[in-house]
């Protein structure tokens, strides 16, 4: 990102694409797949090294999924693992000089958020059918307005929270580097460290909120 807010675009089949975002996305995907391959290349029943780390993450996610979603949640586990790893890689990639996070583009975050919400509604309709539609009209039919606003707010908040955090982090790094003379690296290094933390936290938040939304649609109601 040399000039903030200006994006390189290409036209393909009459559609406009932000080419930098796409490149960075593919890079992040590549990193995620590479890490996953390396970590799971030599699986053993008695774990060692990287395998322990990967297993730890998956075990933790499984316990979260079981606690939040119940029995049906397990089928969504790969999606959630993938979401978390992709977001983590995407967020962190932007901290490397000359690179940008795919998540500093609203297209990415909104795309993921819309996908998650779309999935929530699909799964809700599939698992609960009438009940799912009925719960928008509870406790009284008037609440349908509030419920609709909530449903619309979900993807928007999800997308803008991540987008804003990551973009702000990157902008501030550029600003700090321009603001400070080159022999005074402390503010930018401190901000970089903070950005690493923010990247991890935002990946967790996005994943956890997606899980919470999905849990609503997937978990068995006791009233059913």
């Amino acid at each position: 990102m040399h000039e903030i807010g200006v994006r390189e675009t290409v036209n393909f089949l009459g559609l406009t694409f932000n080419i930098e975002t796409l490149k960075m996305t593919w890079l992040a995907m590549g990193i995620v797949i590479l890490v996953a391959c390396l970590a799971t290349r030599n699986l053993k029943v008695v774990p060692q090294g990287w395998q322990l780390f990967v297993e730890m993450i998956i075990e933790w996610l499984h316990s979260q999924i079981d606690a939040m979603m119940g029995r049906r949640g397990r089928m969504l586990a790969p999606l959630i693992v993938g979401l978390f790893m992709f977001l983590l890689a995407s967020n962190l990639i932007g901290l490397v000089p000359l690179m940008a996070s795919p998540t500093n583009d609203l297209n990415t975050t909104l795309g993921l958020a819309l996908f998650v919400v779309f999935l929530v509604h699909c799964l809700g309709l599939y698992f609960k059918r009438g009940h799912y539609i009925a719960h928008f009209f509870q406790p009284t039919p008037v609440f349908v307005v509030i419920n609709m606003i909530e449903e619309i707010a979900k993807p928007i908040t999800l997308a803008f929270r991540l987008f804003g955090n990551i973009l702000a982090g990157e902008i501030l790094i550029i600003v700090l580097l321009k603001l400070m003379p080159i022999w005074m690296p402390i503010p930018s290094v401190a901000w970089l460290a903070f950005s690493i933390f923010i990247s991890c936290v935002q990946a967790v938040i996005f994943t956890m909120l997606s899980m919470a939304y999905l849990a609503n649609a997937v978990k068995e109601d006791h009233a059913e």
Partner: protein, 166 residues
């Protein structure tokens, strides 16, 4: 800066592709492995439990057998003691009877010996007295008087007068 274009579709597609690849490459093997390990641990635990139960049962059996063996050994020793005592008693009794028997036979022998001696002596006394008497009185006394005299003398003799002959 905030412009939505076709990238949004591309990103959704990218993400879906990523999820599919990750699921195939990483998630499934790890999940399978975790399942496999939990199965293995469960099996091992079950087996350990079964082994422990079997061991306990064997120990119990051994204890019972040991107690049984002790009891049997005690019974054998008791029986041996009893047999020995019985044999001892029988031997003592036998010896006592033998002694008694020997005593009785010895007494009988002594008695018969004494009787025989007495008889013998009596006849010798008769002969000697007759001879002595014959010499002393020669022909003054007839044979009838003589016999009477002798018989009187003999009848006055009794066993007790020869007590020192015993």
């Amino acid at each position: 800066m905030i412009e939505i274009n076709a990238t949004i579709l591309a990103q959704i597609l990218n993400f879906l592709i990523l999820v599919v690849i990750l699921r195939a490459v990483a998630y499934k093997p790890v999940a399978r492995l975790l399942q496999q390990r939990s199965n293995k641990i469960k099996n091992d635990l079950d087996k350990a439990e079964a082994d422990r139960k079997a061991a306990e049962q064997t120990l119990e059996q051994y204890k019972v057998q040991l107690a049984d063996a002790h009891k049997k050994a005690q019974a054998i020793v008791d029986k041996a003691n009893q047999t020995a005592r019985q044999e001892h008693d029988a031997a003592v009794e036998e010896t006592r009877k033998e002694i008694e028997r020997m005593k009785v036979s010895a007494q009988a022998e002594i008695e018969s010996e004494r009787n025989r001696a007495f008889e013998e002596m009596k006849s010798q006394i008769v002969t000697l007295s007759l001879a002595a008497a014959g010499k002393v009185v020669s022909k003054n006394i007839d044979t009838k008087e003589n016999d009477k005299l002798v018989n009187d003398f003999i009848s006055k003799l009794n066993k007790d007068m020869f007590a020192d002959l015993k």
